[in-house]
Amino acid sequence: MPDEIINELSVYISNQILKQPKKKLGKDEPLISSGIVDSFHLVDLAMYVEEHFRVRLDDAELNADTFDTLAQLAELIHERQP
C-alpha cells in the first residue's frame, strides 16, 4: 500500500510542483530540507494529500521534522487513513 502512495505522490510532485514530468524522485530522497519542494509549495502538497488521500496535514506539520522523504510522507498518510 505505501508503495502505491509513494508512486502517486512522486508523480504529483514531479508534474505539478517541479513541472519536470521526467524527473524520478527516490523514496528516501530529502524533499524539504533539500529545497526540492520549497515553502511556497508545501500548502499545495497538503491540499493534494487531503483531497487525494483524505488525510489532513496540519500547518505546523509542514516541515522536514515531520516528513522529509516520500517514504516518510507515505507512512504518515498510511497510518492516518481510515
Binding site: 529545497g35 526540492i36 511556497f40 500548502v43 491540499m47 500547518d59 509542514l62
Partner: protein, 546 residues
C-alpha cells in the same frame, strides 16, 4: 501588539512589556560595552526576541540590522559565508542570537573581526523600572543613522541601506498622510522584518504611531495563508501590505473551510507593493474574497524602496487605482506607453499612484535628461527621506546619485501625475517580493563540475500563475551525453537552492558558445533571457507538433 505563532495561542504584548523588554536589551548592550553609533546584527527568527532586541538597540543608540535567519533549505556553510560577508563590510560591534545558535555564530567569527560581544537571548531580562528618557538612544541627533537594511545573498548583504532618524520620521509623516492613517486603524502583517515593507509599514510605523499591530511570521504564513484572513477578521484589521505574489497565493491556496465565518469588511487598505503589480492578481483576489466581505476598492498600490525608507508613491486612497490600458506594440518597440485605441493588443497596467509628500520623481533617458509623460525611462528620486548612503560603501553611494537625484534602476513612466513602474534597468530578479542578485546564483552554479566557469547566466521569467518571477538559468557544458547533462542540471538546481534558498525552476544545459556576451566580455542577461525564451517557445512548438 499581538503576536501570532503557529501551534500557539495569540499573545498580547502591551506597550509597557514592550518597552521593558526592549530596555533589557539596551541595558545588556551597554553592559557589554557597545557604544551608541555602533552596529548590532540580529541573528534571530520572527518573534518577541527580535522585536525587543531591535528596539533595544535603538534605545541604546546603536544601529540594528536584521540578518535573515537560517532556513532549513539553505546550507549552514553557505549561511556562514553570507554572514562573513555581512561582517566584513558592516563591521558590527555586537551580534545577538539564540543560545542554540551561538556555536554557529562563534564558528563564523574570525580574530580580525570587529565583533566584541555576542549576546544570547536567554541571558537578557526585561528592565522593569527603566528611566526611558535617560537611555543613550534619546541623545542621538536627527542625522545619525538609526538602522541598516540589507537585501539577501552575498551582494545584498554587502550593501546596507543606512537610514537616519530624520529620514525615517519624514517618511512616516508623509506616508501616514498618504494612507489617511487614523487611531482606529489596525495593521495586520505577516511580512519579514528584514525587508522595508515589513520593517517600516508593518512594524516601525504602527509602533511609533501607537496603532494596534497584529504580527505573524512569514514562515508560518506561507504554510497557512488563511491565518492572515482569520487575523483580519478577528481583530478587525484595516490595513495590510502584500507583495504581488501573495494575491495569487492567497487566492489559490486557501480552503473554504478555513474561511468559514471570516469577515473581511474591515479591511480598507490591502496594499500591493515591492514587486511588479499585476491587474490580473488583483482580479483573482477580488473574485476569491468578495464573498467574505472584501471591498474591491480596498485594493491599493504602492511603489517603494528601502533607499527612500519605504514608499515613493501611493495609489488608491484619494481615488480608486487607475488602470492604464496601453498599446502593446508601441510599448515594446518604441518604449512609449500610449493609451490604447483598442485596435491592437493591449496591456493593462496598474498605477502606483502619486508621489507621497516631499518625494519628487522624474523619468530620465540614458543621458539623464528628463523625459516627457508616457515615455519609458529610468525613475530618479529626490526626497526628504533618502538614505544617508550605502553603509561603508561610498563607491556605491556615489554611483547611485546623479546631480543630487537618486537613480533607482527601475523603469517607468508618468501620466497624469501618477507613476507606472514597468521593469528594471538593473539585472535584479524579484521572487515573491525578495530581491535576488543573479551574479550570486551564477557564482554558485559556476562551481558545479562540468559547467564552463564564467559561462552561466541567471535571469527572471514571469510566471503568471504565481504572480511573480521564476528564476531561470542557462549553463554551458562540453558533454553531449544526455545522462551527463541531466546530472549536471540536477546538481545546479541542488547547489543553487542550498546556496541561496531560491528554488531554481528552469535550468537549461547547452553546448559551448550559446551564451551571449557583450563586446567587453560581460554576460548580457537580457539578451540571453530573450534567446532562452525563444528556445523554450520553439521546443514547445516542436512538442506540440510531435
Amino acid at each position: 501588539m499581538r503576536l501570532i505563532a503557529a501551534a500557539k495561542s495569540d499573545e498580547e504584548l502591551s506597550y509597557t512589556r514592550f518597552i521593558q523588554g526592549a530596555a533589557g536589551y539596551a541595558r545588556a548592550l551597554d553592559l557589554a560595552g557597545i557604544k551608541p553609533g555602533e552596529v548590532v546584527i540580529l541573528v534571530l527568527q520572527h518573534g518577541s526576541d527580535l522585536i525587543f532586541s531591535f528596539w533595544g538597540a535603538i534605545l541604546h543608540g546603536a544601529i540594528p540590522s536584521i540578518m535573515p535567519f537560517l532556513t532549513e533549505k539553505l546550507s549552514p556553510e553557505r549561511y556562514q559565508e553570507d554572514m562573513a560577508s555581512l561582517l566584513q563590510i558592516t563591521r558590527p560591534a555586537a551580534l545577538i542570537t539564540y543560545p542554540e545558535f551561538y556555536p554557529v555564530v562563534m564558528e563564523t567569527l574570525h580574530a580580525e573581526d570587529s565583533v566584541r560581544a555576542v549576546l544570547v537571548t536567554h541571558d537578557i531580562q526585561p528592565w522593569v523600572d527603566v528611566d526611558l528618557i535617560a537611555l543613550s538612544g534619546f541623545k542621538r541627533s536627527p542625522d545619525d543613522i538609526v538602522l541598516l537594511q540589507h537585501s539577501s545573498g552575498t551582494t545584498g548583504l554587502q550593501k546596507g541601506v543606512a537610514l537616519s532618524h530624520q529620514a525615517v520620521l519624514n517618511q512616516l509623516e508623509s506616508y501616514s498622510q498618504a494612507i489617511h492613517l487614523a487611531p482606529d486603524d489596525v495593521i495586520v502583517s505577516w511580512l519579514p522584518l528584514y525587508h522595508d515593507m515589513g520593517l517600516i509599514a508593518g512594524f516601525i510605523m504602527p509602533i511609533l504611531w501607537g496603532i494596534p499591530l497584529v504580527i505573524m511570521s512569514p514562515f508560518d504564513w506561507v504554510r497557512a495563508p488563511y491565518r492572515l484572513m482569520q487575523a483580519v477578521s478577528s481583530y478587525k484589521g484595516t490595513l495590510s501590505w502584500l507583495p504581488n505574489f501573495a494575491y495569487n497565493f492567497c487566492s489559490q491556496k486557501i480552503r473554504s473551510r478555513d474561511l468559514e465565518g471570516v469577515d473581511l469588511s474591515s479591511w480598507r487598505g490591502v496594499i500591493n507593493c515591492s514587486e511588479p503589480m499585476r491587474w490580473e492578481s488583483h482580479q483573482l483576489f477580488i473574485d476569491k474574497f468578495k464573498p467574505y466581505g472584501l471591498r474591491p476598492e480596498a485594493l491599493k498600490t504602492c511603489y517603494a524602496m528601502a533607499e527612500n525608507v519605504f514608499a515613493v508613491s501611493q495609489g488608491g486612497f484619494e481615488e480608486t487605482v487607475t488602470v492604464d490600458e496601453i498599446d502593446q506594440k508601441s510599448f515594446i518597440t518604441r518604449r512609449v506607453a500610449l493609451p490604447s485605441n483598442k485596435a491592437g493588443e493591449t496591456i493593462k497596467l496598474l498605477s502606483a499612484g502619486r508621489p507621497i509628500a516631499a518625494t519628487h520623481l522624474k523619468v530620465l533617458d540614458e543621458h539623464h535628461q528628463p523625459l516627457a509623460d508616457r515615455q519609458v525611462g529610468e525613475i530618479a528620486l529626490h526626497s526628504n527621506c533618502m538614505l544617508s548612503g550605502y553603509y561603508k560603501r561610498d563607491d556605491l553611494t556615489q554611483k547611485a546619485f546623479h546631480a543630487g537625484w537618486f537613480l533607482t534602476g527601475d523603469l517607468g513612466y508618468t501620466a497624469g501625475g501618477e507613476v507606472y513602474v514597468v521593469g528594471r534597468k538593473k539585472d535584479l530578479i524579484i521572487v515573491g517580493g525578495k530581491n535576488v542578485y543573479p551574479q550570486d546564483l551564477e557564482a554558485i552554479a559556476n562551481q558545479v563540475p562540468g559547467v564552463h566557469p564564467g559561462r552561466v547566466v541567471a535571469f527572471g521569467v514571469f510566471n503568471p500563475e504565481m504572480g511573480t518571477e521564476d528564476v531561470a538559468m542557462v549553463a554551458e557544458v562540453d558533454t553531449e551525453d544526455e545522462e551527463a547533462r541531466e546530472r549536471i542540471e540536477d546538481e545546479i538546481r541542488q547547489r543553487v537552492t542550498r546556496g541561496s534558498a531560491i528554488a531554481l525552476r528552469h535550468v537549461m544545459v547547452v553546448g559551448p558558445k550559446w551564451i551571449i556576451k557583450t563586446s567587453s566580455g560581460k554576460i548580457a542577461r537580457p539578451a540571453n533571457r530573450d534567446k532562452y525564451l525563444e528556445a523554450v517557445a520553439k521546443r514547445q512548438a516542436a512538442d506540440k507538433g510531435a
